[in-house]
Structures are given as structure tokens and as C-alpha cells.
């Protein structure tokens, strides 16, 4: 069969695995964006910078404090999530009554500042981060590096856990209801402003977690977020703004499609996501899983 399509299986599965890894990052990042947009109505352009901060937090914890990867996996998202909480309290909470555009501009400005600060401190060259799970498995048809398998498994687990929390728990029902009518949910006795603050912190924490996961794969560099975030926004648009399931499915799906494109028509691999976005917007402007508001 593989001879028929003229592609050796190791190449095909290798690219599929790469696609799956990229898809894992797309999924976690667009999930965070979806959660934030759903409740705050803010398009969080600082998401890429917060992903970068997650990677840097892990790197700094290791370099300056000797805190290993496994601890950083928890500590870095908590630290970066806490900075998100400060940002929400100090800045974002003042502009909810304004148009979407102001949230977008504020977070975009924030991203530029954060990236600038990190660039001036650490230079734009990348910092290496040691692989905590070296080695791999020979699956017969391909070689599977342990760390990459871990990234895919953990990302899937985090995405499913987030989906479960939002769609199937009491806390999630507050979130979903507050997305529709925050005033009414608050009038039932729920502290909605605090819920909004924590939700932003959670979304930022998710971005930081993706950053920690990315650190051993990519170089830890100030611009690693801005390279990724544009594709992630395309993923969000394709999945449907604010849709939880949409961001997960679309994230992994587009990663795979990108991988396949690299095998069969490499020239298009950088643009295929945007072509799909254009087609989806033409046919279903609210996105694959979105509902028109």
C-alpha cells in the first residue's frame, strides 16, 4: 500500500507524529483561548507570550533554582497563571464594558511588551532545555521518541479533563451559564467577577503548560509564541470562537492535516491551515463547532 502512494511508512508516520505534536499544542492553546473568550469576551492576544512565559518559567526554574521538569510542569503554569490573574484584576477588568477591540489591543500590546522584556533579558536566540524522557520505542514501522509520546498523551488528557470539567460538572455549569447571562448567574449568588478572574488565570495557565511541554522540543526563545499563535488563532476560527470541543478536535485535526500535507505536498504545509480557514469561513462563518450569536 505504501509503495502505491510512493511514501515510505517511516516518513508518513514520522510526519503524522509531528503533526500530532503540533496539534497537541494547537489544541491546548486554542482551548485556553476558547475558555477565556467564552466567559470574558476577550480575544487574548497575549496567549502566545504567556505560552512563551511558561517555557521560560520552566527554563528559569531549572537554571536558577534547580527545579526539574516534572515539578515545573505544575509550578510554571501556576506562576504564569498568577501573572494572568494580576493582569485581569489590574487591566482587563476595566475594559469589559467596551468593545471587543479594546481587549484585543490591550492583550496585543501586553504580548509585545512581554516579548520585548524577555528579548532584552535573554536575547532572541533560543535556550536549550534538556529532554526529561530521552530514548524511544521502536514500533516496527516507526521510531517513537518517549518525550513526544508523553506530550501527546498529556495534552489529550488535559484537553479531555478540561472538556469534562466544563461540560459535565457543577462548576462547569456556572461557567456555561455565565457565558450566556453573567448578570443572572451573579444574581443567583455566584461571585461571577471572581469566577472571571480565575477563568483567565486558568486559561493563561493552560498556555503556560503548553509552553513547559514545548520547552524540551523547541528552543526556549522569546518569539516562540508569536510564531505559533497565528496558526492557533486560525484553529480557533475554524473550530468556532468559544467552542470547547471545537478547539480540541480542530487543534489535533489540523495538526494531522498539516503533517499529511508535509508528506504529500510540502510546499503547502505552511498555508494549508489558512486555506482551510478561508473555506470554513465561506461555508460556515461561525466555525465548525460554533453557533452564531
Amino acid at each position: 500500500m505504501f509503495e502505491l502512494i510512493g511514501v515510505p511508512p517511516a516518513v508518513l508516520f514520522g510526519q503524522l507524529l509531528l503533526g500530532l505534536i503540533n496539534g497537541a499544542f494547537y489544541a491546548i492553546l486554542s482551548l485556553g483561548l476558547a475558555v477565556i473568550f467564552g466567559l470574558l469576551n476577550v480575544i487574548n492576544f497575549a496567549h502566545g507570550a504567556q505560552y512563551m512565559m511558561g517555557a521560560f518559567a520552566a527554563w528559569m526554574l531549572l537554571t536558577f533554582a534547580g527545579i526539574p521538569y516534572w515539578a515545573a510542569l505544575v509550578v510554571a503554569p501556576v506562576l504564569v497563571g498568577a501573572t494572568g490573574i494580576v493582569v485581569e484584576r489590574l487591566l482587563l477588568s476595566r475594559i469589559y464594558h467596551l468593545d471587543h477591540l479594546y481587549g484585543l489591543l490591550l492583550t496585543f500590546g501586553l504580548a509585545l511588551i512581554l516579548e520585548g522584556v524577555f528579548r532584552s533579558q535573554f536575547g532572541s536566540g533560543g535556550q536549550p532545555y534538556p529532554n526529561p524522557l530521552p530514548g524511544g520505542q521502536n514500533l516496527g514501522f516507526m521510531f517513537l521518541p518517549n518525550y513526544r509520546a508523553w506530550v501527546v498523551v498529556l495534552s489529550l488528557a488535559v484537553c479531555l479533563a478540561t472538556w469534562f470539567m466544563i461540560e459535565r460538572t457543577k462548576l462547569g455549569s456556572y461557567l456555561r451559564a455565565a457565558t450566556e447571562r453573567p448578570d443572572l448567574v451573579q444574581a443567583f449568588g455566584v461571585n461571577v467577577p471572581r469566577m472571571i478572574t480565575l477563568t483567565y488565570g486558568f486559561g493563561v495557565g493552560l498556555a503556560a503548560l503548553a509552553g513547559v511541554l514545548a520547552a524540551p522540543i523547541y528552543q526556549v526563545s522569546p518569539l516562540m509564541g508569536s510564531n505559533l499563535i497565528i496558526v492557533v488563532f486560525a484553529v480557533v476560527v475554524i473550530g468556532g470562537m468559544g467552542s470547547i470541543l471545537g478547539s480540541i478536535v480542530t487543534g489535533f485535526g489540523l495538526g494531522l492535516i498539516e503533517g499529511l500535507t508535509k508528506v504529500f505536498y510540502p510546499e503547502a504545509s505552511n498555508t494549508v491551515v489558512f486555506v482551510i480557514m478561508a473555506i470554513v469561513l465561506l461555508i460556515k462563518p461561525a466555525g465548525l463547532f460554533g453557533t452564531a450569536k
Partner: protein, 254 residues
Amino acid sequence: MDANTPAAGAAGSAAAAPAAAHRILLEVSDLHAYYGESHVLHGMTFTVPEGEVVTLLGRNGAGKTTTMRAIMGMLKSRKGSIRFDGVETVDLPSNKVARLGIALCPEERGIFAGLNVQENLLLPPVVKPGGLSDAEVYELFPRLLERRYSQGTKLSGGEQQMLAIARILRTGAKLLLLDEPTEGLAPVIVQQIGELVRTLKHKGFTIVLVEQNFHFAATVADRHYVVEHGRVIDMFRNDDIEANRDKLASYLGV
């Protein structure tokens, strides 16, 4: 708090002072509220004795719904005094007001499309002991049990109204604010809601009801406040309603 305060002075001069049968649960005095620049409530003053069903009657735009939202704390800019169970609430955010034991069933019902019937029903957190149990709620509303896994907004209008009322019965709130529960519903459903309101009164709830349907209001309420231009202009005991029918008709323009 000051038990047995007569609920007088609340209404205009035409109203006779009601008998001081119950203590006052809710006391609204000189309440002003604003939507942005526009001044909507101009010194609303009325009292709600514990255990009574009280209606706010008035034409469209008189300020009835705004009064409900102001009591609930959902309006940012409000002045004056709203005392509930002895506690001043005019400066509290709505989640704190709810925690004191006031619950709102909003005019547009506020059923969440993203939640199924059961999630809608269980959404409002229990704020005080003494609310109805889930079993009691389902006994009152068997239809909601049958349809508990349906999307909330897939219910019929009457069922949505029942759901909107049902979900505030389990929270332990003592004061229920029902904003036009009969609006747009078939007569048979209106009758059911009337029975429900009487049942709830019997169970000890205090109820403030916003109504445009005066005939419905007369079947359930103990007293009526007439609202015009953001203030209370008159008050009638339900027993005196026949004697004042003409006056009321002229207020309401019916």
C-alpha cells in the same frame, strides 16, 4: 428587627394603613435608579410584609422590572434604601443580595440554552437552609423530571416559566421576585401559575409579583402597589379591590 411595623406611609394618601399583621420583610424607601443617563426610578417606596404576595401593577415602562432588578442588586447605579430582613442592601452586589435570601425569576425567564433542564434547575446555589428539596421540586413540577435531559430552551414557554420559578425554590430564598410570570402564556398555564403562587404562599414564601394582568393579580395577591413614572402612587388591599375598580382601571388604562 422591628417587628410589627405597620406597612403604612408606603403608598399614597389614598391608601388606608394596612393592619400590622406581619413583620416587614422588605422595605424599599426613596429608591432611585438609573440606566446610564436616564433616571428610571424616582423614589420608589413600598413595604412587603412577611408571608404576603404583593404585586407591582403598572403600565409598560412604569419601572416595575427596574425595581425588581434594583432590589436584586443588578443595577449599578441606585440610591435610597432597600432593607431586607433588617439588612441594608442598596450597596451590595447582586451575589451578596442573593446570599441574604432573595431570588429573582426574570421577565425573559433566563433559561440557559447551554444547560439541560436539570442543570438549569440545579444552577442557583443553595444560599440558606429551608428551601424545597429536589424531590419536592419535582413533585411540584413532574414535567421537569420527565424532560430533565432536554436542552433548557427546548421546553415550551409555559414549561420554561415553570423551570424559571422551580429553580429558585430550592435555594432557601425567603423572598421571591417573580417578574411577569404569566406574560405570553395560554390561559390554562396562567391558571396553573396562579395555583402555584398560592401554593408557594402557603409554604411560607414571601412573593413580589410584577404584573400587567390585573385579573390574574387579583386572584393571588394580598396587596397591590400601583407604579407610575418610577414611583408608587397608590396601594390597595386585595379585599378593597372591588370598591376601587374604577380608580384602578384609570391607573392602568384598561
